[in-house]
Amino acid sequence: MTRTIESHSTQTRHDGDLQLVQQVLIGDDASIVVFVERMQCVPAILAAQNRRMGHPLSVHDLSDVVQESLTKVWKKLDGYAGRAALETWTYRFCFLELMNGIRKKRRWSDSAQPESELEELASPHVPRAVEFEFLHRGLEAVGPPEADVVRLKHFEELTFSEIGERLGVSANTAKTQYYRGLAKLRDRIDSRTGGVVQ
């Protein structure tokens, strides 16, 4: 039995990526070669994220996160619907795994750890990333179609007409889904933090 991806009739601007993923999921050798090549973005994205956060993770830690991210991407691959470029879709899995990696490393901070490492972990960029993590995790929980609309609006800067075209709905429907998405995300934040998001 092969993995299959849910079929959908909506037009996307990333039909090529969607087709590639579908071929990978049915085990097409040539597509796997191309997919593996495209997934070189994973270490590059993680290296860039780690660098922008002030290197909270070492080379050794980051190599573990690469494997975790690849595993997550592979697990979630049948959820890819072509609404964003493959690399953009991959970003959030890399980011969330990187944050998990940082958190895991921080758990050792009560144990004997060199002073220099603690300083790295206290990078001023990390708390800001925690806020982004909260938004990304919240959107994961909100789910499609609302979370897709919110991502396309804020992460890809599409207009509602473009979002509607991408998702195969009217611009007005996209606006309504956007509002619902924001409201659901806000409710999740309220339930978790009592409304506190710095």
């Binding site: 070189q40 994205i45 780690n50 070492s58 690469v66 606006k175 506190v196």
Partner: protein, 234 residues
């Protein structure tokens, strides 16, 4: 149209840009409806945060495209090929795929050989402080949280309770995993922000759980952390 629906549509129109917040009519409506004004303010702030997260994502992706990886290509290729070949990492709810025709054994052997040199390959590419390797896997010491498992009532799952004075604006991070699953250790719950001192799972927990609990201050810095395994009463 109900008043609630009318207000929702008004907020939607402001957030989507159909209505200009600087329009005197809009300003007057918001002044007359403080609850709607609060909703607009809250969701606008959230939209601003999402904009910032979006800018960060685009900047990071642009930066990643400028990196020119070399040796790590082999590591990624084989890490992925191993996943594809053995199929062990697939979501449990999904049907397992057939192995790739004629490739499974050779891929696994190739992957095993390459994975053995993976850490060395990475050193050549990733930009990071030198000379720091990860600490060994240690369990933290005593329980600073006085954490305990609270037996659930009949047909209700057991939960956790802890006592730790959270600083102003701080929160807890709670991760619950199932240690019986061996190396896979699936995450049952991952709650990045939590301000309560008692937590109830939505489903029954396994007999032994691994709990990782952190107390963080308002800036996201960890104040205390504890990790360990706990027995859950039937």
């Amino acid at each position: 149209m109900s008043e609630r629906r009318e207000h929702d549509e008004f907020v939607e129109a402001v957030l989507s840009g159909e209505k200009d917040p600087a329009d005197p009519k809009v300003i007057r409506f918001l002044a007359d409806n403080p609850e709607v004004a609060r909703r607009v303010r809250e969701l606008s702030e959230l939209a601003d945060q999402l904009d910032e997260a979006g800018r960060e994502q685009r900047a990071t992706l642009a930066e990643s495209r400028e990196l020119e990886p070399a040796e790590e290509q082999v590591a990624v290729a084989n890490g992925l090929r191993e996943l594809i070949a053995n199929g062990s990492a697939r979501a449990p709810s999904r049907a397992a795929p057939e192995p790739l025709k004629g490739q499974r054994l050779s891929l696994l052997l190739f992957a095993a050989a390459i994975l053995a040199v993976l850490p060395f390959a990475w050193n050549a590419f990733l930009v990071a402080p030198s000379g720091d390797s990860g600490p060994s896997d240690v369990m933290l010491g005593s329980n600073p949280f006085e954490l305990e498992v609270v037996r659930g009532e009949e047909s209700s799952p057991s939960g956790l309770r802890w006592s730790f004075p959270l600083s102003s604006g701080g929160w807890f991070s709670l991760v619950v995993t199932d240690p019986s699953a061996g190396a896979e250790t699936p995450t049952l719950y991952d709650i990045p922000r939590y301000t309560g001192h008692e937590w109830k799972p939505s489903e029954h927990l396994p007999s032994v759980i691994r709990v990782e609990l952190e107390a963080l201050d308002a800036s996201g810095e960890i104040e205390r952390a504890w990790a360990g395994e706990l027995s859950v009463p039937d």
